[in-house]
Symmetry: C2
Subunit: 480 residues, 2 copies
């Protein structure tokens, strides 16, 4: 057993800040000088350095100074084989898939291409502070294999699965219900719960899976009840009409997944932009989950996720946030928080009653405001709860896996350094509010340049290059 | 006379790409191996290296390789004294001004603070590729003076003016009609058309100026007909109601500025989110201009600018794009293009008829799509036309001032390097479409890290630090 410790300033969550309106700091845990003790990648002690330190007098300790250490970020919805085609121009969901996505994803049937893509994919997410993803792959087993193989080499907690589509896709890309079933079965047996890998039965979306393929999903979940289920739901109005035309017996989009007994714990529906109140209620009642992907929803013109509705205390749904890279045009969760904040605020143009007083909803409007508490909760503990992995990751609780990020709140784009000096007189955070203000700056004024180090299972997996690590300097030199 | 030349790959515009639907490249000028010849900061020759080079056999030439050189970016709407408080949490326009903005702007009455702020402000915009701004200042003449003084030291083409507000502001910040008039007069005489400085009579917004202050604006413009007029218009529904309550004799927000004879050439109305069709028409008819500030409109929850409406060929309005830093949370125009693309796409969720077929408008929907051509036109030549400075800057036409940016399309956040290799086999752009695809990647997958060099009047004013200049490297090292 190898024991080590990290000393530094820690910030994580013990509860949902949406439950603490007006008192959000009570959901957070801020330890200005703390010690995190790790045995074989697992947290065995955590607390004030003065209290925990004496219990481990000889432990090898890394002191990470002038950083805020948070749990590693969790991306609930990302497409591994779209790594290269993120940010493709000009189309909404369905034609975008045909023109840009399927041709690129098809290349991941080639093992060498898939392996190269996997190295780049994990490089990119670690450099963005992300330590856990729930990822879509493609129809080719090779793509899913290389995803899990690279995740295994990095020892990362991931959820993924062969991504089935047997209709509304080009022939060269579509699979069949039979191939999807047999390949999924083999992949579950090879990867599920092996190391830190978790398997999700993954019908791409109801528009892409025939009733026969949906039946295979139901069968797989019945045969392997421990696996996850990951898919898309109600992303785009055209898509929704297409789904209901294909499944006329269902009243709404969620009804399709319900029909095949997929909706329940460990089910994630990505996007959920156009869910009715009744669908939100049924997701709540079944303890299923949705994923909010703001950049994608904006970039593809899908619509505005109702954050304040999803967090209604009477029917709070489990929720993770996701990049949805490549429908989303950024790799990291800090960028997602910038987009999520804006979606919440734009929702409030309506909900504050300033346009149509009859639509005023002050409580929902308040819940749309993505404070730093709500934001960082959503990409750590909240995301873990959304993905049913909060027993494993998402906070610094004893027994969890030691995935974390060291954030440098002064590093970022032009303007971020002076902005950061507004807080705590330019020094380290003294209070939980200092830390929250710095983290708000990181997500709104900053970007992934704030990610100084990313650690996985107690091992450093990414370190920002030194040169980039320096805060933004004044480049103007009249002598140039 | 000092003559010099820049050799490289150039991309600028000779026309409005919105006039060339389906054939946008005909609005652009792409010179894969070009020469830009500069005399005392002014462009005296431009074209293919093979044609122009022999005419200047002995000219001192800087060869900028593996970059796309565009005209310097033009920011039509930015608040100089908000440099430090960009990205402040949680409020819409009117309470945001009271809580965050007025206290910070008041500090710019202190000359030392204003001077430090000005150095930082210009450092930040140059590092973002911006060479021209139309800027708001504060009520203190010192703030405007220090802005123009620093712009003069940098020799930059700027538009600015004392920013008056005599109501709906705290006592410590408000000015009076009389002080606004006398201070504006002195500043016009001292700075307007001195060096590259241009003066704008700047009532902050109709909600903040009494009828008496508006009359002073009218008087200033009548006494100095050559000056610009810069203000805000129709940003937020609450604000609009406030304006109409203060000016009950006006039918709409634009009507207030019309009443005081301010609307015409050289008039810029920032935001213009909630303009009626009739107001757009009157702005078109009067040859006035609006500024699109997408990040601010999202960040403050103001609303969605109707890009496709503003570009209606039957009533096309002059238009610049702006950061609106600090209501916008990013300093640079490349970030603005990312936001502008998303606003256009989200507008189309309605205009494509997918929600309500009666609202379908295919032509307006098409105009909402911000291609790389439309995007880079809007922050160069289009912005210059919007600000009535297209005789001075915005393209590489002979006689214009040599402000330009060298863009490195492979540098940016995680993911941008591999994405860039999709185009031109990873090499330099060969065709105008290659260049446009690279520029789309810069604005959507990249950010201001693509700005390798910024030149002002033929002199290098910013160079990216070498370390940052390297393209994103794979940081994952199992040995770490």
């Amino acid at each position: 057993m190898t024991t080590k410790a990290i000393r530094g300033t820690f910030f994580d969550f013990t509860d949902d800040p949406w439950k603490h309106v007006g008192d959000e700091e009570s959901s957070a845990r801020f330890v200005s000088d703390g010690l995190l003790v790790i045995d074989d990648g697992i947290i065995v002690a955590f607390g004030d350095f003065d209290e925990v330190g004496p219990l481990y007098p000889d432990v090898s300790t890394t002191h990470i100074e002038h950083r805020i250490i948070t749990p590693g970020f969790i991306d609930g919805h990302i497409h591994f084989p779209q790594t290269r085609v993120l940010g493709a121009f000009g189309l909404q969901l369905l034609p975008w898939l045909q023109k840009w996505v399927f041709p690129e994803e098809a290349r991941y049937a080639d093992r060498e291409y898939a392996r190269d893509g996997a190295v780049r994919f994990f490089d990119n997410i670690l450099a963005s502070g992300t330590t856990t993803v729930q990822a879509f792959t493609s129809t080719a087993p090779v793509c899913t294999e290389e995803f899990f193989e690279e995740a295994t080499r990095r020892n990362m907690r991931v959820i993924s699965g062969l991504t089935g589509i047997d209709q509304n896709a080009p022939d060269y890309f579509a699979d069949t219900p039979e191939s999807f079933y047999s390949n999924s079965t083999a992949l579950i047996e090879k990867y599920h719960n092996v190391g830190r890998n978790l398997y999700a039965v993954t019908p791409r979306f109801a528009f892409g899976s025939s009733p026969e393929q949906m039946q295979k999903c139901e069968q797989l979940k019945a045969e392997h009840p421990d696996v996850w289920v990951n898919t898309h739901i109600s992303e785009n109005p055209h898509e929704i009409r297409g789904v209901l035309a294909l499944h006329p017996e269902c009243d709404d989009y969620l009804g399709v997944y319900e029909k095949y007994n997929l909706v329940g714990p460990k089910f994630s529906g990505g996007h959920a932009v156009w869910l009715s109140d009744d669908e939100f209620k049924r997701i709540h009642d079944s303890d299923a989950s949705v994923t909010f992907c703001p950049h994608s929803n904006l970039f593809l013109g899908s619509g505005l996720f109702r954050l304040g509705k999803a967090t209604d205390p009477d029917m709070r749904v489990r929720m993770s946030f996701g990049t949805d890279m490549g429908g989303g045009n950024r790799f990291g969760m800090l960028a997602v928080l910038d987009g999520a904040y804006k979606v919440g605020m734009i929702n409030n143009t309506v909900l504050d009653g300033s346009i149509d007083p009859s639509r005023m909803n002050a409580a929902e409007s308040e819940r749309n405001k993505l404070s730093a508490f709500r934001a960082f909760y959503s990409i750590t503990l909240g995301g873990a709860e959304g993905l049913y992995i909060d027993d494993k990751v998402g906070s610094f609780d004893i027994g969890k896996e030691a995935d974390f990020v060291a954030l440098d709140w002064k590093a970022g784009p032009p303007g971020s350094d002076w902005h950061a000096e507004l807080i705590a007189d330019g020094g380290d955070p003294v209070t939980v509010d200092d830390a929250a203000n710095m983290l708000f700056g990181v997500m709104i004024v900053g970007d992934e340049r704030a990610v100084a180090e990313t650690w996985v299972m107690g091992e450093k997996a990414y370190q920002r290059a030194d040169a980039v690590a320096s805060t933004f300097a004044r480049h103007f030199d009249p002598a140039l």
